[in-house]
Symmetry: D3
Subunit: 249 residues, 6 copies
């Protein structure tokens, strides 16, 4: 998972990586037996269980339209973070960050699905972070794409749908500016001190599905944005190559 | 509010505007007497009441740090949309879109505030949409910057703070690709049919505070992103000029 | 809005009014474009947006009875009061005062509607207080009657209902005893220090729809009640004349 | 409990009573051993457990003011009504009618308490309706006054307060217009078909604490209001005599 | 309610009872007029209102299966305990202990019901504790069995069901180890200091429906368990004899 | 994990086990890096992540008592069951079964902890079921004992507490009667069809901490209870031996 030929290394990072270097990524498929698709994705110390479960009905707003739906939920286990994270259910409401993330995951996956080919089905994506070290939302997107792919392959094998409704590969990563330098795939330590933080969701062809950049510490220049875009695109190409390898096993 | 010299008009839009043309913007200052700062901002048919209220304490996580805080809430009145929008309080939870938006407003304003100069105070920003026709979140940012500015001017006049803690002007607009063309400041009709939708929050110097782009109908190319960035930057320059005019009245 | 001929002035009030004198009242019709009826009503510094939206179905308990329903919701914007009012949605429950008020508005309007003539429709009344200075609930009733009237006129014009289902004009005001004297249309300052506080909802003919009186500081005598009733009746007559003028514009 | 000398009987009611006749009232004191004051009050088939519990602290808004507080909660048991009433806790919110009633009870009792003499204490009043047949809110007020009296007598006996902080007796009843006639103490059957419904809370001296009248079926005339006030006053006098008897046992 | 012949008395308890001696039990049938079955059960100072209401439909998961359902809710009135117990509805969630208890009551009653003979009906059991002195859950089971029996007898009399769907008598009591000795029917004082606490639900034939034992202060030996089982069985036999007497009245 | 010498095999079970035979058990220690203690416990196809996190404060009711607290939360991931389990947070309340289970885990662990030796600390136990195939609550107890042990060993190593506050080993298993035969460690299929279901929590010495038995399909005889107790005791001895092995690694 090294795209060192593409971008030049500038200085060593907290965990010894070069600016453009992704953390080691590992995927365990069929991690949960009850889900039609399920993976444990590990990106460095970030670990997320992504599952895809098929339900043979659609939400009310899609009823009778001969189309399917993909929706996602995201949650962090209490022990996934350094300080124990209280469960949302105890406060009786989902926190804002969680909301944002699960909406992002849902949109990202829907954008590469042909809803008509899916038939009147809902695919429930669940991303449960069991250990967090930065980049949980992008790991969740990359991993749940694989779970979704496995679940849909299962539907094809079972003769329930004719062809794969996935129109494109999709993966995500974070980029940011940390101590003045553009870096990729930020770990928690980097993420909490980054001047600029940007999440990118892209296709195999380098097209953009989602881009969300924030000047956490200061506004950032257009030139910085360009550098981040470049870095992110190169990295996501690498991740999609990895996804393809994984699915061929 | 016409920046027609900057970008060439290509075709007429639903409401007769050119691609690069913003809707008419109007601001009524001191709209609500109880708030230290308050404006009614109108962007075309979108109307948002933005207020800034000062509280002389900070949230627990900032206690004792001699810094202030700016936080935002956003809500749509039931009659603001075509089909009556049920109040969040009746469902007992805030909807995900609302969460995303109010977090965006808060982050945008905090990024141009020197929290130390603010002292141990919280500025509560409330953005209540009374009529929606696309672009409510960007109107809310543009308008609440003005309400915030007025509230802080009041603190200076009252001798409570020494200098203006605002470090930069900030405004926002939406850009998108609609029927293959890049356009700015989308009305509701355009927004719901756009292929690509992007919100930009920028400073006077053209630096980026937030950028959130989504391929609603399809992934989008880097070249499209570039065009959108250009269009957004030019437009936000115009909006900030308008903000300055308003504050000089 | 001066009914000085009817009741004798006794002493000057906080804002210079006579005991029997109403505050200036202003109504802006068609304030929100998405609602079938909508007004901004201003009673002194109290400002309420009242909207009426038509939905072509009825609540479950009325299904199949060939009758319609009118229901109301009331909310105060956070900046409407001197000290910021936290949103109900954040506490996950509607506060008791809000409940009382919205039930009062709903009952008052339903009492002048022929539900059968309405057909199987629900009229949703929303009263959002943007600035409060006493008398928000009575302003809401007076204003939402107008919004309701406009919405129903629209249904008639559209040929959806044959005749106006409104059987009576209805308006409301507050009366109270303040420093020993009976006064009408209390502003916030008066209201919070009144010994007795009473809200009256009446028809054009001076008949009572709702009457709610409370001895805030002390029990009150029957003679005081009589004086308040008289004062309220005269005032509501004036308000209904104003409503008629407004609707003739 | 017959005040037949005071008002002339006109026609027989559903349960055989005369228009001005109250239902039989029964009170069992010390009904619950853990509460400092507790009664079971029965008004015809309406049965309410009213308890008063003393807590040695006040709500935040009264802290340090050397004053006490009286607050009330009201709830109906599921089996108290003909059709099982779902518990508020299951819907996660208190229904509007319950809110209104418990606020009314609290205000009524506070109006006859000298908060300063109470010291920094809260008296929690709980009114749990175990069987409902109309008039539960007025029975709750009448009964919880007795529970409150017993709890305060206990504080005096224990030497915790010097004198009785109650400044006045208070009781309540309902009056209404049913089939064109003014009647008192409506049972459920009468209440649900009444044209006008009014709850009155009064002192021994016939002064008004709360009055809430609603034209359920039609607006009502001032003359009708006068008749209802008269009827209610006479009846409450009788109820207060009964309260005094009860407390002398 | 003395089964002194069965087990030998060893030492006197707080309230003067022998180890094996139950508290006095009293049942008032038809306590609430609106419920098809209703009792007030008193076990010493523990008092619970148990009602059974019949609804002519079943929960979704049983639809179309020609079977009925029995479900239970349990709640404590605020004044039922020494320190006022805040209502669940105010915290917006049911507390864990309440959940456990109402599930236990429901399971216990369902285990002696032939659901098919019940027809497509739900029996709602409500157990409202008005005064608590230990053993509220077991009193609730014993009492609600009687309310259920009365409600079902009513259905038979009304010709709605052919035969009694109850297959067995069921009653419950608590046993425990207190100061080293096995005792039955613990009052609150004993219960809060018991080393071991066990609730038993049994049939007339001495068969077990539910058994829940906890080593509150220390783990307990198998021999202790045996002693508790014996004690509980003998006591429940006595309670069931009492239930039969009650129903024959 | 075979205790075949202790109890005689009678017939083969669904998964080929003998009646007295436990499923294979596997434990991965230090599964989550942020928790002071954490294990993944697998019992057949049941997989639970158990973590123990230390917080240096106690709940309000223990403040100033120089004692610590152990509390547990339990949750099932949506994909842990055959049909996707909706998250508690979405319904805004914790389901009853979850409540029961987490209270059981907490009580079980507290019964083998010397709270005084723990100091003023709370140990938060989290049990998240990632895959369920029966026996999740007993696996959670067995596993979280290990996580708790590891967390406390860490406190000793860090010099924060002097000695191990654990007074006893504790483990749990389920026993039940299935097709007339007593079996141990029921898988989901067996559990859902068992006539009798019992969970046992015991110490190394065979003493009982919790016992919860339910006649799901029918009441059960005392002789059956005895057989189940015997079977459970022998099995828990085996599990505790396994726990000791694990901790010695």
């Amino acid at each position: 998972m090294d795209n060192s030929e593409i971008i030049k290394v500038e200085q060593q990072r907290i965990d010894g990586r070069a600016a453009h270097q992704l953390r080691p990524m590992r995927v365990t498929r069929n991690f949960i037996k009850h889900a039609q698709g399920s993976v444990l994705i590990e990106v460095g110390d970030t670990k997320v269980i992504c599952t895809a479960m098929v339900e043979d009905k659609v939400p009310p707003f899609l009823k009778g339209q001969k189309k399917g739906w993909v929706t996602a939920e995201y949650e962090m286990l209490p022990a996934s973070t350094n300080t124990r994270k209280s469960r949302d259910r105890n406060r009786g409401k989902i926190d804002g960050r969680t909301m944002e993330i699960q909406r992002l995951i849902g949109r990202s996956l829907r954008s590469v699905i042909d809803q008509t080919m899916l038939g009147e089905r809902t695919i429930w994506i669940d991303c449960d972070v069991i250990q967090a070290d930065g980049g949980t939302r992008t790991a969740a997107i990359t991993g749940s794409f694989l779970a979704l792919h496995d679940a849909l392959s299962g539907l094809i094998e079972a003769g329930k749908i004719a062809e794969m409704p996935i129109t494109n590969y999709v993966a995500a990563t974070s980029v940011g500016i940390y101590q003045g330098e553009a870096i990729v795939d930020l770990c928690y330590e980097e993420d909490s001190n980054a001047e600029v933080d940007m999440n990118m969701v892209m296709t195999e062809a380098g097209e953009i599905i989602e881009i969300q950049g924030t000047g956490e510490e200061r506004p950032f220049k257009k030139e910085e944005l360009q550098k981040l875009l470049e870095l992110g695109e190169a990295s996501i190409k690498g991740i999609i190559a990895f996804q393809k390898d994984t699915l061929q096993d």
